[in-house]
């Protein structure tokens, strides 16, 4: 009896939290399948996706941080690990959108315009000087379309937050990526509300040693790992590997352990896969073809 009441309450809370965006009139789901894909997307790796009860929600902010080095600073490599993870999550989101649109288009008749989704990148000038500018060829290699990317560089971090909020409120972007040094609770809440209004996900990358903020739906801690083995050349770097720890997930109970897995990005299928094995230690890459333990990527 009590269990039934609790289950009923849980499902009601879930349906309330998955609130429809107030401004999108097409939010009435016509069938359960497409609506569920509209509100969340996944990493593509089922054993990790099980840990996210509702997938990566589109109506909220997700924070991604690198691993700080011993002195509390962050090197370019730490930032790059977080930025790369965020970029790949954005690629997954675009793929999920195009999958969602394809069956709709087939059933209803394709719209006259090829609607390619837009991605927005926003950071203050100070960070822009550290890493240089996004390069179209490199982003295309990752899987983003450089002709559908808007880059915002603002003079101050407060203006970057303002720009992020404005772009979340405009419902014409598929995903918004922001790179900031730190973010406080109130701005994070505002971004969260804005993302919820229009069901546009916001991926925030912050300094590895900055204080984590509690208004995000998920928080990831990533560290770049030595890459997988290249198929043809043992001396060349292979597929990118990242060790991702889910530090906070709003949908999971707070007492759950922090799962940490080693993920590998596959360029062809544009998904994350689970990399296991202890092979590809740096010492084994000096051309000694024999004795190399191949890593098996479990395509699960």
């Amino acid at each position: 009896m009590k269990a039934a009441v609790i289950t009923g309450l849980r499902s009601r809370i879930l349906s309330l939290e998955r609130h429809a965006s107030r401004r999108d009139p097409s939010s009435q789901p016509d069938d359960a399948g497409t609506s569920s894909r509209r509100w969340s997307w996944e990493l593509g790796c089922p054993s990790f996706d099980e840990l996210l009860p509702r997938g990566l929600e589109t109506n909220s902010v997700h924070e991604i941080k690198g691993t700080p080095s011993a002195l509390g600073g962050a090197s370019a490599g730490d930032w790059m690990a977080a930025i790369g993870f965020a970029a790949r999550l954005a690629v997954r989101r675009l793929d999920a959108l195009s999958e969602m649109r394809a069956p709709d288009a087939a059933s209803r008749g394709a719209p006259p315009r090829a609607a390619r989704p837009w991605v927005l990148w926003c950071w203050p000038k100070a960070l822009a000087g550290e890493f240089g500018a996004p390069s179209a060829a490199g982003l295309a290699h990752l899987g983003l379309d450089p002709s559908r990317l808007l880059i915002i560089e603002t003079a101050r971090a407060s203006e970057a937050l303002n720009a992020l909020e404005e772009s979340l409120k405009a419902s014409s972007l598929a995903v918004v990526i922001g790179v900031l040094n730190e973010i406080e609770l109130t701005p994070a809440r505002r971004l969260s509300l804005a993302a919820g209004e229009t069901a546009t996900p916001c991926l925030l990358i912050t300094h590895p040693s900055s204080e984590p903020v509690g208004a995000t739906a998920t928080r990831w801690r990533v560290a770049r790992m030595p890459s997988a083995e290249h198929r043809f050349d043992p001396r060349a770097p292979g597929a990118a590997r990242v060790s991702a720890t889910l530090e906070r997930c709003r949908a999971r109970p707070a007492s759950a352990a922090w799962p940490s897995l080693l993920l590998e990005w596959c360029d062809e299928t544009r998904r994350f896969g689970l990399a296991s094995g202890v092979a590809d230690l740096p010492s084994q890459t000096r051309g000694t073809a024999s004795g190399t333990v191949a890593a098996t990527v479990r395509t699960c």
Binding site: A133, S172, P226, P237
Partner: protein
């Protein structure tokens, strides 16, 4: 030291501009004099010229002491040319400026009438349309806007009035002067005054394509009133644009204050727009910086740049844009708030050198090009699908110190930004040769660009860099040894 300007009392006492100060002081010991500030005078004149835009967008400073305003098509708004002249002179005198005005068919004639043609007690003089020739006949030859030696020459020949020039046939005029340029100059100025030759003149700002204005009897002070009237003007401008099937790319709101100053607020749009709500939303952000001063008594909204609207564009007023929709409205808002250079898009350039292969252009200009294609399918970016490229490219490659395994191979250790990194794996080289067409005509001693061998290296922590070696080992004799740089970071 010479006197540059005198007031009415001094003029009546017989002091003229150009007299030496010491002579004038000797004649009138009670003379009061102040240092002339030509720079401040010029700035004040420019401010007045800006204010004079309320009478028409075509206006500018004329010489050092006057303004010219082109009132073609404006006079009826003021109830006739005479009323317009009354209005101008009354307002200028209320600012404390002594003014004389002239109105004629041509700029030259108006210039002459203003300076030499005003009756003693009137503030202005008007030459009726098509009666310019008679009107300027009685003006002195100084009105021809020639320099002093030429005027002197004309006077020596006995020509003191412009009317005397009419009767002389042109070639005999040329014969009287020693050189033909002087004759040509005189004739050119005369033709300009009579309207037989064109006079090039540059207005202060390029004239707008469409313009709507509203004047107030009571100057506006509150910002709510300003917003309300601006919204009405935006609706009028939108209707005017729609009637011509155009959209505005830049709109400018100009406000003229009651004390003779003016200010503007400009908004730029990425796609031609004729929705009043969107224009108001962009202009509203600039209202905070507007200071009404003593009150605004004329508001004008101009469409400065217009373009034909593509029939396939979505309106901005639609509340629900799909996920594949245009972010044009967002780009407009952000670009007007942070500056048009803050929000950019990547565009390709015709070069294979990595730092020159792409450029970032302001999104407000490139958005129309990118998304208003008539084809349903636009081909993607023309990037080469070749070896992997870094996601971030440094604007300037940073030099690194390298210990390489073999001279022609990838580095084994390198120091970048003062941290030593040990390379675990490397891929390469990819040779990017300099553009051969830039080396064709170099001299012997000029530096030639050298080929670069790019390597994708990964260090023991997993971070990946894009490094290159600039130059080759064992290349030409006596050339500098090759140097290594980091050019990008892989994400």
């Amino acid at each position: 030291m010479a006197i540059t300007a005198v007031n009415g009392a001094a003029a009546r006492a017989g002091i003229e501009p150009g007299t030496a100060l010491s002579d004038a002081r000797a004649a009138h010991p009670t003379l009061v004099s102040r240092a002339a500030e030509p720079e401040n005078d010029r700035i004040a004149l420019l401010k007045l010229a800006r204010w004079a835009g309320r009478y028409g967008p075509n206006r500018h400073v004329d010489g050092g002491d006057g303004l010219w305003i082109d009132i073609t098509g404006v006079a009826h708004l003021f109830g006739g040319e005479e009323n317009l002249l009354d209005d101008v002179t009354r307002r200028l005198s209320s600012f404390g400026v002594a003014v004389q005005a002239g109105l004629a068919d041509t700029l030259g004639a108006a210039h002459g009438l203003a300076r030499f043609g005003c009756p003693p007690n009137a503030a202005w003089s008007l030459a009726p349309a098509d009666r310019t020739r008679e009107a300027i006949g009685s003006l002195p030859v100084e009105a021809l806007r020639l320099d002093a030696p030429r005027v002197l020459l004309l006077k020596r020949l006995g020509l003191r009035r412009i009317g005397q020039l009419y009767d002389i046939p042109r070639d005999s005029l040329a014969r009287r002067f020693r050189s033909s340029d002087i004759a040509a100059a005189v004739l050119v100025r005369l033709d300009q005054m009579l309207g037989l030759a064109d006079e090039p003149r540059r207005p202060m700002q390029p004239p707008p394509v469409l313009s709507v204005a509203r004047a107030f009897a009571e100057p506006l002070i509150s910002s709510e009133a300003l917003e309300g009237i601006a919204a009405e003007l935006a609706a009028e401008l939108a209707a005017a644009l729609a009637a011509k099937d155009l959209g505005a790319r830049t709109v400018r709101l100009t406000f003229y204050r009651a004390d003779g100053t003016a200010g503007t607020a400009t908004a730029a749009m990425s796609t031609p727009c004729r929705e009043a709500a969107h224009m108001m939303a962009l202009l509203k952000e600039k209202f905070a910086g507007i200071d009404a001063g003593f009150g605004i008594d004329l508001l004008r909204l101009d469409a400065v740049r217009v373009a034909k609207r593509n029939a396939m564009q979505n309106g901005f007023a639609e509340p629900a844009s799909t996920l594949g929709g245009d972010p044009a409205a967002l780009v407009d808002r952000l670009a007007n708030r942070f500056g048009s250079d803050a929000i950019t898009m990547l565009r390709p350039r015709g070069s294979h050198i990595p730092e020159r292969a792409e450029t970032r252009r302001p999104a407000i200009e490139t958005l129309t090009a990118a998304s208003s294609s008539r084809l349903a399918y636009a081909p993607p970016w023309p990037y080469p699908k070749g070896p992997p490229r870094p996601a971030f490219v440094l604007a300037r490659p940073e030099p690194i110190e390298v210990i390489a395994e073999v001279p022609d191979g990838p580095p084994a250790r390198f120091i970048w930004r003062r941290v030593e990194r040990r390379v675990a794996r490397a891929e390469g080289p990819e040779r990017i040769a300099p553009e051969w067409w830039r080396t064709l005509y170099l001299d012997e001693d000029q530096k030639r660009p050298r080929p670069r061998d790019y390597y994708r290296v990964e260090d023991h922590d997993g971070a990946a860099y894009w490094v290159f070696r600039h130059g080759l080992y064992g290349g030409e004799e006596e050339s500098a040894p090759p140097s290594w740089f980091v050019h990008g970071l892989f994400a």
